[in-house]
Amino acid sequence: MAVMTIRDAINQTIHDEMERNADVVVLGEDIVGGNGTAGGPEAIGGIWGATTGLYAKFGANRVIDTPISESAIIGAAAGLALAGKRPIAELMFADFVGVSLDQLWNQMAKFRYMFGGKTTCPAVVRLIYGAGMSAAAQHSQSVYAMMTSIPGLKVVLPTTPADAKGLLTEALRGDDPVMFFEHKAMFGIKGEVPDGEYRVPFGQARMAREGGDISIVTCGRMVKFAEKAADNLAKDGIGCDVIDLRTTSPMDEEAILDSVEATGRIVIADESTPRCSLASDIAGLVASRAFTSLKAPIEMVTAPHAPVPFARELEAAWLPSPATIEAAARRTLAFR
């Protein structure tokens, strides 16, 4: 096992899969970087460092720098996939779903169904998401709830380098469109990554902590925050199950329900805004399917119903935190 960052795990997985399968192609804005300049292609090698080195190895037919045209990027990915390729498209910021939603929602996600199951559309879209870098209202959003709501899309949020490799490999071996969310504040997280072929199946949550008193269900960057909250609670002898969903579509409903059936108390931590959110989705699941096990009101910890503000202090206050998760856990435990 090598120790590497999430960034490098993603980069290496793309390299490996492109070597393995000549149908894998990559496209996006500045994923090569330097095209049409004195510095030449690969002068930059990808804004996020996730696509560095691909162009040199695989050339312009498979590593395609595009103009600033997100609808055309996602649409081209859809067309590549219908035509038998396995595109990986990068949305430099997940917020650019705004300018490309149709191709994700009404095209890519629906082809298989509309066409009567007679085709596949194995496109992977990498979306760089999340708050915490003062990137303000249009470059900080967590768009996974919107993508989770769309039938036909699978939604993946790795939180460790190993999962980044395992889930991305799985995405590229499967035949459905996959929204692969990478948190911009998590690229630098380091961890062990299995060598060789490594796949993590979709729909299997990871138990990040086992505790038994409270279930904390979460995903993405909030997993780390939940673990911190759990560590603090552990000092008071309170044991938390911290469930890292890994994929929100398909979602490991059994893992959630099993945990809640054991604990009777649930806190859902979600980086996004509250309305029609992943938090509410899980709350609905639990309130309809684990009702009799529940011992306390469901606690949802989310951002407020407001855009992401710019100023550091405001952004920090907007974000859920280990402290707000911990407080919710204590509330649910105090309920009798």
Partner: protein, 323 residues
């Protein structure tokens, strides 16, 4: 360019299939048996056929809401299409698509599309796949004069130029987007083709109501694109004989407009006149085709009517490949 007798007969037949398919749908829709929105291709047959007669199943096309003509011209099964439009279990897409979403990827028909302008970027993607394969295959994106105002269409043209994709933008200008005239809605300094040209690609223009003009112009264009010169565009001047969709009161038409178009701009009439005048085909051969196709369409409707509805369990299948 000289087409063989077989090629001519085939092209004529394709146009007739489209025409009779659509005329029959127009009649059948009145019965209330067919649900949803249907946009008929009548009048534009020479465009679809003049383009698609050049293509193999490994070339790709991406279509529009007005897709029946493109589907038939590209080789979709006519009976399967009819069943699809009737919403039947053994329709080409199991009754899940209906008129607006018919596709058959196995013949290179990547889908009709209910979202105006959505197809153009997909054609670029298919063209990039063809480019990667390096076998001289192309992808065609059909767009209307209305679709040519959608942002996706412009993005696609630019991206095709930048990536040198073997993508062909076919603009069927039938002078209307829904109930609005081309003159009102499309800002240009000349025409749709000149807009495409400004993106740096080579463009052609042809009479989309004339099979021979469309076919021959496309031959030039395809030679250019298949040779690896990057994308191209063609504007086809054509006409639709029916309303925007079935049910359209068409009050925006001028007096006698449809009658005039049916007289002066009917591609089937023009085809017959031309081959008769040049003596390459005898009218009897064309009449035989008409008769044969009429039977095909009769059968298609009869079989569609008799076909079973989809099982209700189908509602939740085919969303994913693996669940």
């Amino acid at each position: 360019m000289q087409l063989s007798r077989d090629q001519l007969l085939r092209a004529y037949r394709q146009m007739v299939v489209i025409r009779m398919f659509e005329e029959r749908l127009h009649a059948e829709i009145m019965t209330g048996e067919i649900a949803g929105f249907t946009h008929l291709y009548c009048g534009q047959e020479a465009a679809a056929v003049g383009v698609c007669e050049h293509l193999g199943h490994d070339d790709f096309i991406v279509s529009t809401h007005r897709g029946h003509g493109h589907c038939i011209a590209k080789g979709c099964d006519v009976k399967g299409m009819m069943k699809e439009i009737y919403g039947r279990a053994d329709g080409l897409c199991k009754g899940k698509a209906g008129s607006m979403h018919i596709a058959d990827v196995s013949v290179g028909m990547l889908g009709a599309n209910g979202i105006v302008g959505a197809g153009a970027p997909q054609a670029v993607g298919a063209a990039l796949a063809a480019k990667l394969d390096g076998k001289g295959k192309v992808a065609i994106g059909f767009s209307g004069d209305g679709a040519c105002n959608q942002g996706t269409t412009f993005e696609a043209m630019n991206m095709a130029v930048v990536t040198k994709a073997p993508c062909i933008f076919v603009f069927e200008n039938n002078h209307y987007s829904e109930h609005t005239g081309f003159e009102y809605a499309v800002g240009t300094n000349r025409d749709i083709a000149s807009r495409a040209e400004a993106f740096g690609m080579k463009v052609w223009r042809a009479n989309g109501s004339d099979f021979f003009d469309t076919y021959e112009t496309m031959a030039d264009l395809l030679a250019y694109v298949r040779a690896g010169n990057g994308p191209a565009a063609i504007e086809l001047d054509t006409e639709r004989f029916y309303g925007h969709f079935e049910g359209d009161p068409q009050r925006y038409r001028g007096p006698g407009e449809v009658e005039r178009l049916r007289k002066d701009r009917d591609c089937l009439v023009a085809f017959r006149q031309k081959v008769e005048a040049s003596g390459v085909l005898e009218i009897a051969a064309l009449d035989a085709i008409d008769a044969e196709v009429a039977i095909l369409i009769d059968e298609a409707v009869a079989e569609a009517r008799a076909a079973p509805a989809p099982a209700l369990s189908e509602v939740t299948t085919d969303v994913y490949v693996s669940y």
